[in-house]
């Protein structure tokens, strides 16, 4: 029986590690963190560390869709313009879909105009709230940029959004409604999110240390990432499986037993018909909070007792929210394609967790990698990737 897998034919990312994919990979290889301190000078009544894009993103006139989030999405998309155009030519514009994961949409645009709304009950006439703020905007401008007329939507399941975007892509390909899907994630800095996580008391005032003893919480970050998945093509890696579950436990806290994320990984392995013992790399959700990391650590220890390398990367990039599933999938694809596993950038391992966190980059050739995401509302997702 033929294994159901789809080739990833192109990818690109920008985050605190770099504005171009090559810069992101170089920083990842060298373990160079992109986190920077932010505080009062950034409009925050507290201090934290943030994974900001290291350079300004060119502001584009996108008419009613104008928003920084759309700018970031298009900035990253430009890097894979050739493969995307080729896919549109090959399959037809109506046979290409777009699925984008995000949480914030263009809320930073609304933040800047909210005073006017409070004062007058309406936004300024030149601000199109629906197109600039709402979460589908970046997916729409992406499709329009390449004349894509296939289905397009935004996954808005908080921090598992862009991991779940891979599940949608796989379903659409399985159902035969498209032949290629641009799968992405983008989230950009907004004060509302920083203040919200601070109110929840999970924001760390120090650089975050996922899975570490004495970890103190998360750092946020911003990023954009696109992955082109096609029905056929030259694989940089394969999209082999996806799993999705819910915790049914709490709006903002994970199940303490880690069963939700464990089951998502198990479903991804079942979807890809891969044995857990074959997993050779995990990029975990690992935000650096006490509860997430404890639960996810349990899940990894239960499902993967052979202790594959587990490489949390949010200590380098910050937690990029709805973008993290796509960004960290790109990191897994790079590892599978190039044959190296990055070092885990964090503190001394929590003694309650028996995990294999590599402390130096290793020239390994894992065949399968898992990327996990967990989210508020208890939504978990895992993406299973296969080396080319």
């Amino acid at each position: 029986m033929t294994v159901r897998r789809y080739p990833i034919t192109a990818y690109a990312a920008a985050c605190a590690l770099g504005m171009r994919t090559a810069d992101v990979i170089a920083s990842l290889r060298e373990g160079r963190s992109g986190l920077v301190r932010q505080g009062a000078e950034h409009g925050l009544p507290f201090e934290t560390w943030f994974g900001a894009l290291p350079e300004p993103v060119a502001a584009r006139d996108l008419g009613p869709w104008t928003a920084r989030q759309a700018d970031v999405a298009l900035h990253v998309l430009d890097e894979i313009e050739g493969p995307v155009c080729a896919a549109v030519d090959r399959w037809g514009a109506h046979r290409v879909g777009v699925v984008l994961g995000t949480t914030t949409g263009g809320v930073s645009e609304t933040e800047a105009r909210f005073g006017a709304f409070v004062a007058t009950g309406a936004f300024p006439p030149d601000y199109d709230f629906a197109r600039a703020h709402l979460q589908y905007g970046a997916a729409e401008v992406t499709a329009r940029r390449h004349g894509i007329t296939g289905p397009r939507l935004a996954q808005v399941s908080a921090c598992s959004s862009s991991a779940k975007a891979f599940a949608t892509a796989r379903r659409w390909l399985d159902a035969g409604v498209v032949d290629a899907v641009l799968v992405g994630g983008v989230d950009t800095r907004c004060r509302m999110t920083l203040l919200g996580f601070h109110a929840l008391e999970v924001l760390s005032s120090e650089p975050c240390t996922p899975f570490a003893e004495g970890r103190r919480g998360i750092n946020l970050g911003e990023a954009g990432a696109w992955v082109l998945v096609e029905r056929e093509g030259e694989a940089r890696a394969w999209l082999r499986g996806v799993g999705e579950t819910s915790d049914a436990h709490h709006l903002t806290q994970p199940r303490p037993d880690g069963a939700g994320v464990r089951d998502a990984m198990a479903l991804a392995l079942a979807d890809g018909e891969v044995d857990a013992a074959e997993v050779g790399l995990v990029n975990p959700h690992a935000t650096g909070t006490l509860y997430n990391d404890a639960a996810e650590g349990k899940a990894l220890m239960e499902l993967l007792p052979h202790r594959p390398p587990v490489v949390p990367t949010k200590g380098l990039t910050g937690h990029t929210l709805g973008a993290c599933g796509a960004l960290e999938t790109v990191m897994c694809v790079v590892a599978l394609e190039q044959g190296w596993v990055p070092a885990a950038h964090t503190g001394p391992l929590d003694p309650a967790l028996d995990l294999n966190l590599p402390r130096a980059r290793a020239e390994l050739r894992p065949r399968f990698a898992l990327n996990t995401s967990a989210a508020f509302a208890g939504h978990n997702a895992a993406v299973l990737l296969e080396a080319p």
Partner: protein
């Protein structure tokens, strides 16, 4: 893709708290704001109106489909999501020093209604939230739900938007349970084909006119066609490239 069965329907709109009342066309003036029995006591204070109306509609649809809520796969499609909670957070940010609220921030997420519902239902399978422009929301929601249902689960889709703080939008939630196979004691209500481009052969719902400012109103065109036992293609909205339809058969 194989055909998918519609096995349950649910609805909440001002004046209408169930499908039977909607079908009767006689609104109940007492039905003004959504309230779901899923959220008793303190949970009612935490759950937003969007969560309440989504829960109300989903609960009815799952009951008709004879699907235990804990076994349902939950999908929410909404253009605005939790805009009231988002605007509440934006207002708090204007305080000096800027502030936030843990509950309002958590509730501002698009997927937060599913968080409340997942806990209330004890549902531990697939759940997700999607969004798209108002003109294609229902088409994309049905595409996501039917392709997910094709994998074998009972997908409980709710298409819903609450009132918007920035523009007129009457509250509305419309729910469908979609499955490849109906539960043994449930009666299939209709069969759906694959969502695609095309022209509708069935007319839109005339009863939905007062709710058209809500993007979910297009789901009423499908709901009414199912209730009427019609066959043809139902219009789901569209964009510059054309319209979307879903084939429907009794």
């Amino acid at each position: 893709m194989s055909e998918v069965l519609v096995t349950g329907l649910g609805l909440w709109a001002p004046g209408y708290d169930d499908v039977a009342r909607w079908a009767s066309g006689v609104p109940d003036p007492a039905v003004a704001r959504p309230r779901s029995a899923l959220f008793p006591g303190a949970a009612a204070r935490r759950a937003t109106p969007l969560a309440q109306m989504a829960g109300h509609a989903l609960g009815a649809a799952l009951d008709q489909a004879r699907v235990p809520p804990a076994e349902a796969e939950l999908l929410l499609a909404s253009v605005g999501g939790e805009l009231d909670a988002t605007f509440a957070c934006l207002r708090l940010m204007r305080e000096e020093p800027p502030a936030s609220s843990p509950l309002r921030f958590a509730n501002s997420l698009h997927s937060s209604p599913l968080g409340h519902l997942g806990v209330a239902f004890g549902a531990r399978g697939f759940a997700g939230a999607v969004t798209a422009p108002a003109d294609t929301l229902v088409a994309m929601a049905l595409l996501e739900a039917t392709t997910r249902a094709a994998a074998g689960g009972d997908v409980a889709l709710v298409v819903a938007d609450d009132t918007w703080p920035h523009a007129p939008c009457p509250p509305l939630a419309v729910a469908f349970v979609l499955s490849v196979r109906a539960r043994p004691d449930a009666r299939p209500l209709a069969r759906l084909g694959t969502v695609g481009r095309g022209k509708p052969t069935l007319p839109p719902s005339s009863r939905a006119d007062a709710l058209r400012a809500n993007p979910s109103a297009r789901a009423l065109d499908l709901l009414d066609a199912v209730l009427a036992g019609r066959a043809g293609t139902v219009g789901l909205g569209g964009d510059e490239a054309g319209g979307y339809v879903v084939p429907l058969a009794p």
